[in-house]
Structure formats: C-alpha cells, structure tokens
Amino acid sequence: MSASNTSATMARALPAQSRSWLRDLAGIAVILVSAIVGYFLFPNNLAQLTRIIAIMQFFLSLDLVTGYCGVATLGHAALFGAGAYAAGIAAAHFGVTEPLTMIAIGAAGGALAGLVSGVVILRGHGLAQLVLSIAVIHLSHEAANKASAYTGGSDGLSGIAPDPILGLFAFDLWGRTAYVLGIILLIIVFVLLRILVRSPFGMLCRGIRQDPIRISAMGASVKATLIKMYVISGAVAGIGGAFNAVSTQVVGLDSLSFTNSAEALVMLVLGGAGTLYGAFIGTIVFIGVEDFVSAANPFHWLTIVGALLIAVVLFAPKGLYGTAAALVERYRKGSK
C-alpha cells in the first residue's frame, strides 16, 4: 500500500461525491420551481398547497425512522400533533405569537414526543413494535381530548393569532405569506436532512436498518442511535405541525389521529422510503388522489387508492421514486 497508490484511489473517489451534491441541488431546484408554478397555477388554492408543505415535512420525518432506520410505526402523527399543539398552546394560552418562536417551540415539542414515543416503540420488535406505535397514537389522541382546558378537546384549539414574521410580513387572507414561509422552511429542513443522512450518523442508521446485529458487533449502540434519530425525526415532524398551526391558526384532534399515521406510512411506501425524495412524491400522490380522484369518483376513490397501492407494491416494490431511480441507474450503466 504505497502512499501514491492510495492517493490515486482517493482522487478517483471524488466524482461520485460531487454527483450526489448535484442531485441535491436539483432537488432544491425542483422544490423551488414547483413552488413557483404552484403559486401561479393555483393562486386561489394556496391554503391547500400550504397544507401539502406541512404534510411533506411530516412524511420526511417519517422517512427518517421508517426509511432510514427500518422502524415501522403507525403512530408517527403523535410527533406531528405534539408540534402542532405545542405551538398552538404557546400562542393561545401563553401569548407566544411570534411565528418563528412558535415553530421553534413546535420543534422542541415534537422532539420531546419523539423521545417519549421512541423509548416506548423501540422496546418491541416487528409486530410488537407496530402495536406499541398504535398504542402511542391512541393514548396521545385521548390525552389531547381529555386535556381540553389546554387543547380545546374535540372542538379544536383556536385563538392562534401569529404576529407578522419578523414584524414585517403579516399573514394575509390569501395565504401568500404562509406559503412562502412554508417553502423556505421546507428547503431548510430538506437541506439539513440531506446533510444528516449523508453524515456518519446517517450511515450508522442505514446500517441498523440492514443488519442491527452487525452494528452491535461493531461496538455501536443500536438503541441509542435509534432514539437519537427519533428525537431528530420528532423535531422535523414538530416543525411541520407547528407550521400547520401557524398557517391554519387552528389545531384539531385529527392531527393526532391514527388515520393520519397510517396514511403517512402507506404513502411513504408508495413514494419510496429511505430517499427523502420519495416523501415528496408520496405527498403529491396522496393529495392528488385525495383531491382529484375523490372529486371525479366520490364513491370509489378509496378503491382506487387501494388498487394503486397494490400495483406499486407488486410492480415497484421500492416505491415510485426508488423504482424510477433504479431505472435511470440501469439506463446509465447500459449506455456506458
């Protein structure tokens, strides 16, 4: 192993690295372009687009634990709801109405919920894990329902009136400010998460998904790593929840629902888990199906969702993004 030989191999190592950065830049560009196109295409429907942004952050957060760490959970909305309620309660009961502070509080609330549900859910494996996650979401739903003095119970938490952002940009009736804030948040979160999944910690998590026993044979703690990822995932979901509270000015019990959690998992599988990009595609398919298919056929739209899911699981097991990426890769190799 001569030094020159080693440095030669390292020089060869660099191109692949820059290529993945290029892909991230492309990802950011796609978000920006879609945001601008969406803005001009649906000027009267910005509220719906803003909701999509919040859901995207929720799906990204689920992708961290499910896609990267292999933890199957049906209780992830607990993290999103915790962020939403943390921000909402801070605003409605404690007068914290500065929107960026509210979002920071939401992130902290989500991280705390991530810690708690991580500790509970990670006690089990496989089926037991799934059942624990269902228990988590039902318990948190019921807790929010009972604590109606703070959460408004089944009536929802209203009276959230965020100040203008940085004292400059007030939330308008058309939802333009909320939309722009959402896009900025989404890009920041996306960039931070791309850095995270590429980091040594991200690599450790991918290793845990593929073979936890090998990871412990390397001297790393599987549990501590997963809980850490759960906290990070909670912060991301909390940002999404808090943003939803800021933009809609109301938090409902449905943000803590089992249905939300299950739909998120299904749509993540549909979009392609473990890539972050799959979360975007999953969200768009989800909203698209919900909006357009249910409008076209209000009676059978769930059947169509089911058929779509079966088709994806059978013919594109890596999800829409994963399968597309694999096809592109094969094409690239074939053309060489």
Partner: protein, 254 residues
Amino acid sequence: MTALFEVDHLMKSFGGLDVTRDVSLSLQKGDRVALIGPNGAGKTTFVNLVTGHLRPNSGKVRMGGEDISTFNAMKRVQAGLVRSFQVTRLFAEMTPEEHVALAILQREGKSGRVAGSFQAMPEVMLETYAILETLNLVALARMQVSEIAYGQQRLLEIALAMALRPKVLLLDEPAAGVPHSDTFLIENALAQLPDDLAVLMIEHDMDLVFRFAKRVIVLAAGEIIFDGSPREVTEDALVREAYLGSYAHASSAA
C-alpha cells in the same frame, strides 16, 4: 502474567442439552489459535457466549484481567473483543468503502456525527483505502455489497474486523462458503493481521488450520478435549474418536 483474554469455566445449556460444558481457555498477545471440532460441537455457541450475544449459565470472561462477563455485546467490542460471522453479515445496500469507514468512525467515536461526510475526512479515507488495499478490495470499493462475490464479502468481513483494531479477534469460519481455489485469499488476509493481535479461529478447512495455527483447541460435545500443538492433534486418540467415531480405531488398525 495475566492472560490477554481468558475464559473461565463457561457453562451453557439449552433446556436439558449442555452445549458448553466447563470450557476454560486463555489467549496471549500474538496467539494464533484454531478452534476445531465436529459439527454441533458448540463452536459458534462458544463465540456467541464469549462475545455477549448469548448469556452463559455460569462462568466468566476476562480481558486483560478485567471481568467483562456483565458487559453487553457492544461494550465487549469496545473493550477490544471483536468477532466475525460464520455467515456473512454485511449491509447489502452499502459499499465496501462505507463499511470500512463506518467501522473506523465507530472505533474513533465519530459515528454519532450528524454533519459532514467520511469522504471529506482525509485520515478516515486514508485508513479505509489502506485496509481495502491490504485485502485487494479497492477495485470494488464503490460497488454495493449485494453485487460482489461471496468470497470478497468474506474478505470484507475481515476488513471490518481489522478496521475495529481489536485486541482479541474471534474468526468464525472465515473461509466458509469460499471456493477452495480462493482460500489463499483468506489466508493472505489473515497473514496481514497485526502481530500482537490474539486470534482465535474456528475453521473446518484443515489445510488452513495447520498453516495458520500455532495451537489447536478441539471442542467436542461442548467440551474441550484437546489443547496443544497442531502436530500432536492428529495423533490424539480422543480427537480421532470425536471426529471419526469407532472408525478411528478401524483406520488406525488398517
């Protein structure tokens, strides 16, 4: 002088079946020991017990005099006791480069970092490629493990063990599943292990055992029946009986 690694009266039973019966052995720095025995002798169980993947009924494991019996698998690795697996355990979707880098980062306590990339850490990259180079894996450094041949996956198992810089290395059939014509690759890899490392190797390939080991331990039905030099092991009556049953006498008569 205290032994670098010491197993003291280890016992394990599954229900009524004693799979490890009062096993004691010790290793010194630089030891090259082969652990052999017929199928079902409890060799892999022994490794699982020692590395903390199974709990023994009784008995102690010590590293440099320190009792590590209560440590979990992770802490034992941190204490310098590293194993490889009989059936390759690797991350199918990761590259050899990532595998080795992850092991190095873990050893250095940097695997929890949430930013930066190992490819931007020159010292990690240098060591990664030095190890891959030793094992002739550089050409495959950027391929997914699921796409590389099994024999090379076996080499990567050894690469991971090297990257963790253990004091004691337990190799569970490093040549298992490797075509006989490629065993020399494994042998070359084993020859590259640091001199002061104590190695205990489980192996069925006797040619490899006799070339590698300075000492042979034979396990049969959970018990150590022989501990001595490779030269003596072939002549030992108990060992012959364990492997060949009553045929041992027939063959010696013939």
